[in-house]
Amino acid sequence: MGVINNVTQEIRKEGLFHWMLRQLDVLITRLTTGLNWNDLRSMARGDEARRPNPRLTVHSESFFFHIKPSYYHQSVTKIGHTFRLGLLSTYFFLIELVTGIFLMIYYAPTPERAYGDMLNIISGVPFGQFMRDIHRLGAEAMVIVVFLHMVRTYLTGSYKKPRQFTWLTGVILLLATLFLSFSGYLLPWDQLAYWAVTIGGSMIDKAPPPVLGQTVQLILLGAPSIGAAGLLRFYLLHVLFVPLVVIFVFFIHYYKVVRVGISLPSSQEEIGQDTAKRVPADKRRYYLPDVFTDEMVFLGLITFILLALIIFNVYPGAPLEHHANPNKTPLHTEAPWYFLWIQGLLKLGDPTIMGVVVPTIVFGLLAVIPYIDFNPSRKAKDRPVAIALWMFSMAVLVVLTWMGTPYFMVESPPAEEVVQIMMPEEKDGPVRQTDWDLLTVGEWDTTADNSAASFGVQQLMVLMNDLIHEEHVKVVERHEAKVKDLRSIRNPTPAEQEELAKLQATDPGLPNGSGKMIIENWQEGLKKVTMRVFWTPEGDSEQTFEKTFYIHDNSNYDGR
């Protein structure tokens, strides 16, 4: 009863309205762990804090603010110093968590269901494809951001004493990010997923000694090749184990950053100097409200860009190819872009050395950089070797990535290539892009008059003719280069002589090439398209390559 009496008395004294305002202020102070309404307003205005400073109380009272330092050295809060890439990596991880949980609701990791669940997410779940797009773009952006974060740290020499261990945990986080991205690749259970992960799995298999590689592969995939067991394991790694590793290592990483501070520009800080704890009062920039506002505005803008990229279709969208089919290898299997450099390495030599040993050495060296770099200076002008090594590595990375694409050292038969460009196994391509009604029924020939066909078909035949010619020229050039190489050998071995003779005897490419496209009505809304490529090598009979596919009026492969 006493409490109620007190309250009644207070209300009588202050009036109901003011009493309620005061109670609201108490609530605000509790929620913000120490800031009342006027404190919030003064922060938004950019005023000086009152004494004693309530903004510092927040850092000791609130969990989320206590892991942030209450102030930074003013030199490290400029955007150009760190580009806030560490914050951004964390932010993308959070985006992945949220969108990932949304997607998990509609997904079961079994070969019978996974692909159907993807179709349902796209066609039956409101905002399903939107969530997939964010999840996918966020994952790719996270790989880029983590990579840039490390480049920045390397170039400013920030990994040096006392931050060696921070760098080491950073390398672990890089590996975890790459593996998170890669393990997510398998989950849609489409052709893209299946074959990219098959390449990855076969690399693990090659790890020396064979007993180790095979055992690790067996543990990871649950079988000699990817199937139900592998899908479930990748799923659990993707949604549970690797995120836990990331969260665990992240806190170590973050604690170290807070503990020793973000490195100052190299001109203001000597190696080993503890600048985080002794920031002169006039150089301090307080987290509340200055840095906090900067971070929120920065993340707001990044989110805006992320969404704009998706909504305005700058980002083509998360792909979904045909259902995984172990019996049908796609013409070009390509690793995810951030692993193309490994695929490039694989084309150069022995899979054990190039696919396992070299990447292990690369990441191993990366991890121990702070412990083998004895150069005491962080200034770029004192680190010519380190900077040169970085430039060299970047150049190698770019070249290897290019070598990983199908443009390098992949020779598929030219006729097959022509049909693949006209009508790719996945995505749309020129034939599917042509309006369904414009696919005039009949037999059309690149060498004949196609004026009876629609304009769309006429254009397709012109394109097919050009492609046959282009592929022919490409193959002939490659052939001639090979012949020239073999001829230039001074003392050729018998095997080389034999190869030269064999090359000279063949008429490469698509000599006298022509193409046909036969379009038939097959069912209601369904047309059958047969593409044939003909060519006649000198002294040989006519050769043919043929491929058939069906096109439905309603199907749409735009972007997927």
């Binding site: 938004a44 205005r45 950019g46 005023d47 070969p111 019978e112 692909y115 159907g116 179709l119 796209i122 066609s123 039956g124 409101p126 905002f127 494809q129 939107f130 409200p289 200055d290 506002t293 900067d294 929120m296 505005v297 707001g300 803008l301 989110t303 805006f304 969404l307 704009a308 909504i311 305005f312 045909h322 259902h323 029924v441 009949g442 037999e443 036969i518 038939e520 009505n521 097959w522 069912q523 209601e524 809304g525 369904l526 059958k528 047969t530 058939t548 596919f549 069906y550 096109i551 439905h552 009026d553 309603n554 199907s555 749409n556």
Partner: protein, 268 residues
């Protein structure tokens, strides 16, 4: 102070802009996008099913699913869509009837058709995944409108024309495709599915049955499949009565001769 205000303003504008474009471009389009995607995937399912039908089913059910008398029933007929379920006393949907039959096959000899349908579903030891069986059903069901109304949209597809001066081998190769031989025998040199693979047939045909030349043996095997049944098939011992015995009636003399000539080119 201005600095702080600018930042907060920029932040609020970015948030509002995000909310606006989200509502205008995502939420607004969502009700139309979902059915469009559904139609897209239904259409893709028909496309996939068409390829599967061509690879696996035409051998017995015919290129356009019209059935082959004495071999397998028509799937592209009004009866199939209107009365078949009642005839067999099946109470489920037509889609589940098709999927169930493709999955588990027709192991019972009905007396009406010479071939027993193999079990096609992986669940029952066959080669097809559940999603492929569903695609096949989508393709078969897509015949419904034209089959029931008898509209000519897809009744008779224009057959792929051959050049007038086509050689017998070319005519034979076309017949091999059109008759769906690959449905059981696979592509020559590839893997056979039900019947023996014909890769290298010309090399061994002359010595299979004493007294018959390679040409005579191949001709006999097409028109009288039961005269000599080779022992080994991809799925175990070969069975008699599995291959249709009607090719003498359904093939023209030129096609029959072409087929023999074509098979004679399959040397090892």
């Amino acid at each position: 102070m201005n600095n702080m205000m600018t930042k907060i303003t920029v932040g609020i504008i970015a948030l509002l802009a995000m909310a606006t474009i989200f509502v205008l471009f995502v939420a607004r389009d969502e009700p139309a996008r979902l059915p469009a995607e559904e139609a897209n995937f239904a259409a893709r399912s028909v496309e996939n099913g068409a390829l599967l039908f061509e690879a696996n089913c035409v051998g017995c059910h015919g290129v356009q699913g019209k059935g082959i008398p004495g071999v397998a029933p028509s799937l592209n007929s009004p009866e199939f869509f209107t009365t078949r379920l009642q005839e067999v006393g099946y109470t489920g949907s037509l889609r589940s009837f098709i999927e169930g039959t493709v999955n588990a096959g027709r192991p019972v000899d009905s007396g009406q058709y010479s071939a027993k349908m193999a079990t096609w579903g992986q669940e029952y030891g066959g080669p097809l995944r559940p999603d492929q069986i569903s695609d096949l059903a989508s393709f078969v069901l897509n015949w419904e409108t034209t089959a029931v109304t008898g509209e000519p949209v897809a009744a008779e597809p224009t057959p792929t024309p051959l050049a007038s001066d086509a050689s017998p081998v070319e005519i034979g190769a076309a017949a091999y495709t059109a008759q769906g031989c690959a449905g059981c025998h696979g592509e020559p040199g590839g893997a056979g599915l039900v019947g023996p693979n014909l890769g290298g047939l010309a090399t061994r045909a002359g010595s299979t049955v004493p007294g018959l030349s390679a040409e005579e043996y191949i001709h006999q095997s097409i028109v009288q499949p039961n005269a000599y049944v080779v022992p080994e098939c991809p799925s175990g011992p070969c069975a008699a009565n599995l291959m249709p015995q009607t090719y003498e009636q359904t093939l023209s003399p030129a096609e029959l001769d072409g087929l023999v000539q074509y098979l004679l080119t399959l040397v090892e």
